[in-house]
């Protein structure tokens, strides 16, 4: 209805043009429109989707207080020194009672945020589960269109089962700290299975050695040819950050050279498409389920960027003609 009428509105087109010229205000405005689920946002995402997919998307997750924001602030500096343009989406929780939120991740990133080639955006979960916001990865697309080479996504302080990040980022970093659980905690399933890189931050504190040992025992090996490293950092002092940055680059190289990136793109497309399908279907109260075969075909088209997720979902529900 309204969504389609907005497609040709000049304001959307103008936003997209400004965005691709590197205008931060356009990017920021577009992210708000996405968060508020404005029809103009959908039109803009449709327009930019083909031009996205170039950035290395790195998710950082782990319990609250392990130093994710401080690590990102150090990584921002390190990757800026390596000539990359870097974006950050930092997610903090929305109050389930009032709908309000305190978004405080910028506090640790004050120095890095002065760099004109850095874009940091705080985001509230707005009731979305899994340690992310519904708008998080659409906002990543916006930062890609803005020209970022690398985008960090910081989840809310996550406990054990917030694993969605691993399905949607290229590289997932699990950040732990000393004495945050005994060997049995670490044996449990969930967040400790999803890392491509594991970090024991605050490694100057007592218990770092046993945390390292316990993690090394349980770290799984997902793909072929990549054994997730377990690293020590002291983010507040910058110790170990260069090594972490090297490992992130090495993982990105590995994904590209092994063909794993294509597989992950497909997994991401499927996760996002299934999510969007559920959402669109729910919203339109369309009870007609799409068949598995059509879903798989559409997943392919989203993965190779022939069509964006939302449009594919709507096609599957029969609300939009292919074309």
């Amino acid at each position: 209805m309204k969504a389609r009428a907005a497609g040709g509105r000049p304001s959307t087109a103008k936003l997209v043009v400004s965005l691709q010229r590197g205008d931060k205000r356009a990017a920021a405005r577009l992210i708000s429109l996405i968060e508020d689920d404005e029809p103009a946002a959908r039109a803009a995402l449709r327009a930019i989707y083909r031009h996205t997919g170039g950035a290395h998307v790195v998710g950082l997750t782990g319990p609250p207080g392990t130093g994710k924001s401080t690590l990102i602030s150090r990584l921002l500096k390190e990757f800026r020194a390596r000539g990359r343009k870097v974006g950050v989406i930092a997610v903090d929780p929305t109050s389930p009672f009032t709908g309000g939120a305190i978004l405080g991740d910028r506090v640790r990133m004050a120095e890095a945020s002065r760099d004109p080639n850095v874009f940091i955006r705080s985001m509230a979960t707005r009731g979305y589960p899994g340690g992310l916001a519904l708008a998080t990865f659409d906002a990543v697309r916006v930062l890609e269109a803005l020209g970022m080479d690398l985008v960090f996504v910081e989840t809310v302080g996550a406990g054990q089962s917030e694993v969605e990040i691993a399905k949607r980022a290229h590289t997932t970093v699990v950040v732990e700290m000393p004495a945050s659980g005994d060997a049995v905690q670490i044996l449990k399933a969930g967040i400790l299975e999803i890392g491509d890189v594991y970090v024991v931050n605050k490694a100057d504190l007592e218990g770092a050695d046993s945390m390292m040992t316990n993690l090394r025992l349980v770290v799984p090996s997902h793909g072929k040819g990549w054994k997730p490293p377990v690293l020590r950092t002291v983010a507040s002092e910058g110790t170990g950050v260069k090594d972490l940055a090297d490992k992130l680059e090495a993982h990105w190289r590995h994904l590209n050279e092994s063909g794993e990136r294509v597989a992950r793109e497909r997994a991401r497309a499927e996760t996002e498409l299934r999510g969007a399908l559920a959402e669109v279907a729910l919203r339109r109260l369309a009870a007609k389920p799409a068949s598995e075969r059509r879903l798989r075909a559409a997943t392919e088209r989203v993965a190779n960027r022939t069509v964006d997720v939302r449009t594919a979902a709507e096609e599957l529900l029969g609300n939009r003609r292919r074309g």
């Binding site: 931060k24 205000r25 920021a28 405005r29 992210i31 708000s32 429109l33 968060e35 508020d36 689920d37 929305t94 109050s95 009032t98 709908g99 309000g100 939120a101 305190i102 978004l103 405080g104 910028r106 506090v107 640790r108 004050a110 945020s113 002065r114 874009f119 940091i120 955006r121 705080s122 509230a124 707005r126």
Partner: protein, 133 residues
């Protein structure tokens, strides 16, 4: 989804007293507002840049050191220079009543001195955030 109000709470300058700004941030949160807090010792340029990236409706500045006459108007100037003069700016702190008209003339929408109730501040941000987007 209804449009959410986003407010940046910032401490410009060298004053390190942040209890007040945190109390206000909490009150705004409890009123359903998304509050971005950027921490201590921010320059007006830092604050304006953060406000743009965060696409906030309004900025609340807190200053207890007496430097408000320099710092508050500077935030407004930088925003205007960056074509973001539509972002509402309010200030609060230990502000003598005679400074209030000067600050408003410099572009602050509202100034809150000692004794202001939290409800007044919440009401202000809820009303002022209704700008067209």
């Amino acid at each position: 989804m209804p449009k959410k109000i986003r407010v940046l709470m910032a401490k410009p300058g060298l004053d390190g007293h942040d209890r007040g700004v945190k109390v206000i941030a909490r009150a705004l949160r409890d009123a359903g507002i998304e509050v971005i807090y950027t921490g201590l010792r921010q320059s007006p340029e830092d604050i304006a840049a953060a406000a743009i990236e965060e696409d906030v409706d309004a900025i609340g500045l807190s200053c207890l050191s007496g430097a408000h006459m320099t710092l508050f108007p500077r935030v407004v100037q930088v925003l205007r220079k960056k074509k973001a003069g539509d972002i509402v700016v309010a200030g609060g702190g230990i502000i003598p009543p005679e400074d209030v008209p000067k600050l408003k003339k410099a572009g602050l929408k509202e100034v809150f001195g000692p004794g202001t109730s939290l409800q007044e501040i919440v009401d202000f941000f809820q009303k002022s955030a209704g700008r067209p987007r």
